[in-house]
Symmetry: C2
């Protein structure tokens, strides 16, 4: 029997190729649709989430094929959500990943159908992974996935984002958006391979808490960069989020309070990570991710300090 | 224990209520999103498909709860496909089921999110039904569902429909569209409850053939009505499909050839139905559906005759 290529979570080329080939295109496919799908499948992201899925799966001895199905499925869900987000009626973006958005290149209708094709395939891939589980564990996992993707998760986050101008601009609101839009996918990435691998409930809980802390943290970092970079670059241009009235925790509560919140989230995340690694040393790759977050945090706090100093200088002069 | 209401496939009120309540709306849902979802869930169709699912399920002793989950799921998939079809970038419809389309009432973005919410929930409901199956039967059923909904089914049909003007206007093309758009859902309706109920492979095959014959037949009847009613009503107004260059078998091959094709499809369907009912008399409700199709066929052939006679009269005068 020929040796199957090893589904190495670190092998980006292999993951990229899997992303491209995990949605088979039938011969009788409408040519316009086929072109759009080939375009989408040839423009993957950085594959950071699929790598994380593999590493979590590996820590719980999940079979590599199931881990791979989940990895590609989540990346398909994410890509589909980006296609929808970029539509004229949503964020109205023109470019994504350095290329024209799908709706710009192929029209809105074909973009929507392409996203739906990814979603259909993603559910099928997830089911394959779930079907390999003991039957009494299946419904718990599928319910979890449904909640993160649906009206309690990703979709609600996107809706709140769209309607933000009608909602109170508070930390709570911006975090409700982030919990939907950003945190849902991170939770799925860390938790689904663990559940499929039969992780104990306590470790699932800890992984969830890390996902929420880091997810909200990543969003807060993004928000702070949006506010701080504009100010430091020009001193005049309003932050893009504020200009477009997009959810932004730093705009909602101010830079200082946002930094405090971020530091608090990372601190809780650190305590949780420590507990988790005592139980599951094989998840030590998470420390490296925490290291990446730390660098981002330093950049943002340095910018915040600069801004504070400039403010003080202007006051004095 | 309180007696559960009987999931009577004939109880339209119960099915309509299930349609309304089978997508639970969480308390933290964005208000704009909630309004749209309530609107969608309160405007169901005729529930003919859910009734069919229950009756097929009953013929194969499928537990009523699973039948019900499939019934509502398929109706959610269908409703979602209508929401997408009505969008400005697709068919650009303004009204549906006697009410403003979702995108007209709530905006395109919220319409899209509502459709995605239905899809997410539909997959979860289908999965519940599949999870109750023996594990070795699960992947066959989920693969079948994936194919009917995805790039080999519904989505390809919709894409071909959108791009029809660029394709040869032949019977083959119009039937490729119909196989995707119309036939996919009928196949799912007849076949999924049978598969879940453990139907023998031969009966699945016969159900599939009936679904294809009647699905193409229903579409041909629709197409013929579009052509014949315009002509008989005004003698001048071009058929709407032809005006908009939409797939229409009668426009593609002419009324006579389309009627011949329709009669051929129904004939093959009849032979198949006969074989199936010998094996599974409990599916006799299908004869009633065939009766409904017969009435439609008579109307259309009567109109075709009228038109032929008018044509002969004009030639003579």
């Amino acid at each position: 029997m020929p040796r199957e290529p090893k589904l190495d979570e670190n092998n980006s080329a292999l993951l990229t190729e899997s992303f491209r080939t995990s949605l088979p295109l039938p011969s009788l496919l409408d040519p316009g649709f086929e072109d759009a799908l080939r375009h989408v499948l040839s423009n993957p992201g950085s594959m950071v989430r699929p790598r994380m899925v593999h590493r979590v799966g590996s820590a719980y001895h999940l079979d590599p094929e199931s881990a791979h199905n989940v990895a590609i499925a989540l990346e398909y869900f994410h890509t589909a959500s980006l296609i929808f987000d970029d539509l004229p009626c949503m964020d109205n973006a023109l470019e994504r990943r350095g290329a024209p958005c799908v709706h710009v290149e192929f029209g809105e209708a074909t973009a929507i159908l392409s996203a739906l094709a990814l979603i259909n395939r993603a559910y099928a891939l997830i089911w394959r992974a779930v079907a390999a589980c003991p039957q009494d564990a299946q419904s718990h996992i599928t319910t979890y996935i449904e909640k993160r993707l649906g009206v309690e998760g990703l979709l609600n986050g996107q809706s709140l984002d769209l309607h933000y101008s009608t909602l109170p601009h508070t930390r709570e609101t911006t975090e409700r958006v982030a919990r939907g839009k950003t945190v849902s996918l991170i939770r799925l990435t860390l938790v689904v391979p663990a559940m499929l691998g039969g992780a104990p409930a306590r470790e699932i809980q800890l992984l969830e808490r890390i996902a929420v802390c880091w997810g909200l943290g990543y969003q807060a970092i993004d928000d702070l960069k949006d506010v701080l970079q504009s100010t430091s670059e020009t001193g005049k241009t309003a932050a893009r989020d504020e200009l477009l009235d997009r959810p932004n925790i730093a705009s909602a509560v101010g830079v200082c309070a946002a930094v405090e919140r971020l530091e608090r989230l990372l601190h809780v995340g650190d305590l949780t990570l420590h507990r988790l690694l005592l139980r599951r040393p094989a998840l030590s790759f998470l420390s490296k991710l925490r290291g990446d977050l730390e660098r981002e945090l330093r950049q943002v706090t340095d910018s915040a300090c600069e801004m504070a100093e400039e403010g003080i200088s202007r006051t004095r002069s």
